[in-house]
Subunit: 140 residues, 4 copies
């Protein structure tokens, strides 16, 4: 993915925040939060961002689909706990946006992610509409 | 739920079988398969039964919804492993069927369940159609 | 399970509360929160109760294990949302406690559950210690 | 992650295979298998590989931990279905191995992944033991 220009472990990077709850069943036999659960935490941030920033004014036939995600596992976490999840745009393509995610347990960053979400019109990749580009620029 | 007339731990009870796979992430911090994953195994059997026996000839507006489930956890299980899941009707109501489930890891029954699924027409409980009653009787 | 003497859909029944977050991935193809995710919400309440009320003073070799759960699905719920989960003891056995659970989305009760958890000493069922009985009576 | 020298969508790449089952609850409100479930499928392959090839002769204090994963979502998949998951080493570091994964539904590749797993001795990154390097070379 290359080295991101911004440090996704730094909470100051994010203007969009949401929360999630560590579940007992998120832990695996190693006694810490499983990598699959951490993928769910990243989705919690990303989907909230998609509904609130990318497509709050969704038109018929418009959608975003996840094409690629890279998750860096940075620290162990355990039940119980509440998570704060920050999401920010880190790169714009012609038909896609790369969203950065930081998952924080108290002040500790337990994981970061970069996800490429592709804009689709009627199920096919399409140029990012100007209104979405404007909102992303405004939140850059 | 009362004492079922049939012994759900006995594989001979079931004519409908499906399989599932124990996942590493199904285990929790206690090092065994978590009770929530076992609810998923029961769903694996129940939903296959619903599509193949209850509503293979689904008409517009018809559906079944899960109203109640009782799961008895009988033995610990661990990753890795393949499960065989048996499903059988155990009771017929006017608008519902109670489905019995047995989850088997090799020859060991790790859990049984009774689930009440309610027939709905256009989102409202409705009398079980005769064609479904006939199929259930045939598989009794 | 018989008809519970207390109405588990009534928030006034509960003195112990915890929270959970509805995840996007908790929803299934029917577009509502899946029954398996609801089993996880019930666990969120039950495990917090176990650590805070049943065994805050856990001694070596002591544990509780889930033997049976009955979940009543009462209303549909959807992402996004925050849940409040109440837990209360509803019945005492010689070696077990039945815990009642109510899962609330805003003020709507989406599910209730009764779970039988068995006390174990060194892996075998054992009489509920007097100190645990006293705490449960105190919270009755 | 750079462009892998090998095509992870090609089943011929893999000598290690395991299976998993698509669960009804793996689907999300969009009616296809959710990205979080696909992370679980990748883990199914990776953990089996870890137990069978990386550490079948695990010594005290030895472990592997997942540091980073990149998943490429390639095609939609739906319940029901059985998955074949291939795993192969794609790169060796001084303390880590990058494992490639291909998830196949019938003959369609639904996702590929590259996961960096770090060898640890007593909880700290350590040089990959020669016996593990030899096994990986043997399976290259």
């Amino acid at each position: 993915m290359g080295i991101p220009a911004i440090d996704l472990t730094d909470p100051a990077v994010y203007r969009h925040w949401t929360t999630d709850t560590i579940r007992f069943s998120d832990q695996d036999a190693a006694g810490h939060t499983n990598n699959v659960a951490i993928a769910a935490y990243c989705e919690t941030g990303r989907v909230a961002y998609a509904y609130q920033v990318l497509l709050p004014d969704k038109q018929a036939g418009e959608s975003f689909i996840l094409a690629r995600i890279t998750i860096d596992y940075r620290r162990e976490s355990r039940w119980p706990g509440t998570l704060r999840i920050g999401t920010a745009p880190v790169r714009l393509g012609s038909t896609s946006v790369t969203l950065g995610t930081g998952v924080f347990n108290d002040d500790r960053c337990i994981a970061t992610a970069e996800a490429i979400v592709v804009f689709r019109q009627d199920g096919k990749p399409a140029a990012l509409p100007e209104r979405i580009r404007a909102r992303l620029a405004d939140r850059g």
